[in-house]
């Protein structure tokens, strides 16, 4: 589903922050992405959600070479990818409902379907009482859950999560991991960036380790 061959990434002609990374992610796979701060995790994730293009090498996502693909094709690829950002990136002027519904609205889904999907996910994730609230009135954990709901509401083919349980208590962290496992079982490939060794032990999956921009093991 995703193949990278000796990809490199540099910002504005600076040094390479990712160098010669090669990997293959199967459909329905689950990987952790670990590495120290500044090792290139975020840069690799940016390429995985087509927020950045590799400076060199070939990266294929859903069969398309993302460097050669048109902007329209890349937009279509991104629609199949769910992303949970470490800093949530909720839109402050929209309600929780509208934030979560955003990817469905971008896909021009009918409003009843959007309503049903948002209601289902927020009940499950425990945000049912906060649908009309603006993100600023939510706690860090609630914002993280809203960001998770937004990323998974389209049942993406590929989910990227950057420290998705970092601000959650243990019980909610386990629920979220259970949600990811369930999504994974239904065919969604997942790459989850984390420092949480306990979680890796509890939900064992292959680990992509990155250090100084190089992928050192899987």
């Amino acid at each position: 589903m995703i193949t990278a061959q000796k990809i490199g990434l540099r910002y504005d002609g600076g040094p390479e922050v990712i160098n010669d990374a090669s990997f293959h992610l199967e459909e329905g796979s689950f990987h952790y992405l670990t590495g120290p701060s500044g090792s290139g995790k975020t840069s690799l994730m940016r390429m995985l959600h087509v927020g950045k293009l590799p400076s060199r090498g070939v990266m294929r996502i859903f069969g398309s070479d993302i460097t050669a693909a048109s902007r329209g094709e890349r937009a279509k690829i991104r629609r199949k990818i769910g992303v949970i950002f470490q800093n949530y990136r909720l839109l402050p002027h929209l309600s929780v409902f509208d934030n979560i519904a955003l990817p469905l609205r971008l896909a021009d889904a009918p409003e009843p379907k959007i309503k049903q999907a948002v209601t289902d996910i927020v009940e499950w994730i425990g945000l049912g009482d906060n649908l009309k609230s603006k993100p600023v009135f939510l706690s860090g954990g609630q914002q993280q859950r809203a960001a998770i709901a937004r990323a998974v509401i389209t049942k993406p083919k590929f989910l990227l999560a950057d420290e998705p349980t970092g601000n959650l208590d243990d019980a909610m962290g386990l629920r979220i991991m259970a949600l990811f496992e369930e999504l994974n079982r239904s065919g969604t490939a997942i790459v989850l960036a984390t420092h949480n060794e306990a979680m890796i032990d509890r939900f064992p999956h292959p680990v992509l380790k990155i250090k100084d921009g190089a992928l050192i093991s899987t």
Partner: protein
């Protein structure tokens, strides 16, 4: 429901654009009225004099030294009339002689001149005026013959200058509008950078993001244009009645919707260029 513009752009953002468009559309409306007024007035003036020749039989001979008698003036006038009255290029001939009391030079006891106005066929040969003038001058050398060619040239040159002034003003209005729209859109792109990046990552294409901006801008432009054109209509209607405008007023009313369309197209293009340029860095 698809993604609405308010997701990206707060509704109040472009309110001041409406006010700017209101003034700019008003200026455009008045410029268009000016343009059509000049056309109408000039065509009225030229139509009145284009097909005429004026001949003056003065009270002096061709040396300007000898004062002619009233009888001489009458006989010269009759001679000219006899000479040209059967000319096929002439439709009508009118003569006019002011009363002696109307003449400035009455105190010197100079006879009043005679003025003949010749009305020519619209479809005449090109050199008709010159031919008639030449034949009159040959027989009555002191006759003063005036064709409207020079007048018309002067009027048309003034009209051309006025056209350029109005068209220049209209172009300036459009340029200013375009620059302001581009500036506001660029500012909003910076202010909404996080939002745009997010919806881009969620799968919105560049054209989708551009459309979101365009729809807000177009609504804003319409909101500014319509009241402005209503106010213009209220001002122009009595003004046109006072100026006794003819059919050209219809052309003016038809030009008003064109102003709205022009502003919409301009704003849409400027927005497209600005947003596309800003999204260049996003893959």
């Amino acid at each position: 429901m698809s993604l609405s513009s308010s997701t990206v752009i707060p509704s109040s953002t472009f309110r001041h654009i409406s006010i700017m468009v209101f003034f700019m559309a008003s200026l455009m409306g008045f410029c268009a009225f000016g343009l059509i007024s000049v056309t109408s007035i000039i065509s009225g003036w030229t139509n009145d004099i284009t097909d005429t020749i004026t001949i003056e039989i003065p009270a002096f001979d061709n040396t300007n030294k000898t004062i002619l008698s009233d009888k001489d003036i009458q006989s010269q006038t009759q001679y000219v009339i006899d000479l040209i009255e059967n000319d096929p290029a002439i439709i009508n001939l009118k003569s006019y002689r002011p009363d002696a009391s109307e003449m400035i030079d009455d105190r010197f006891n100079i006879p009043a001149p005679v003025f003949l106005t010749l009305y020519l066929h619209e479809n005449r040969a090109n050199n008709t005026e010159q031919r008639i003038a030449k034949s009159i001058k040959k027989s009555v050398p002191n006759a003063i013959i005036k064709t409207p060619t020079e007048w018309i040239k002067n009027i048309q040159s003034t009209a051309t200058t006025l056209y350029f002034v109005f068209i220049g003003l209209m172009i300036c209005v459009l340029i200013v509008t375009g620059v302001v729209v581009a500036g506001v859109v660029r500012t909003q792109l910076v202010a909404s950078k996080e939002t745009i990046q997010l919806i881009h990552l969620c799968g919105a294409s560049a054209s989708r993001i551009t459309n979101l901006f365009q729809s807000v801008i177009i609504k804003t432009v319409i909101k500014g244009c319509i009241p402005s054109l209503i106010i213009i209509a209220f001002i122009i209607t009595p003004l046109a009645a006072y100026l006794q405008f003819d059919g050209s007023l219809l052309l003016y009313w038809l030009s008003l919707p064109m102003i709205i369309i022009l502003f919409i197209v301009l704003s849409a293009i400027v927005t497209l260029m600005t947003v596309t340029n800003a999204l260049r860095d996003m893959p």
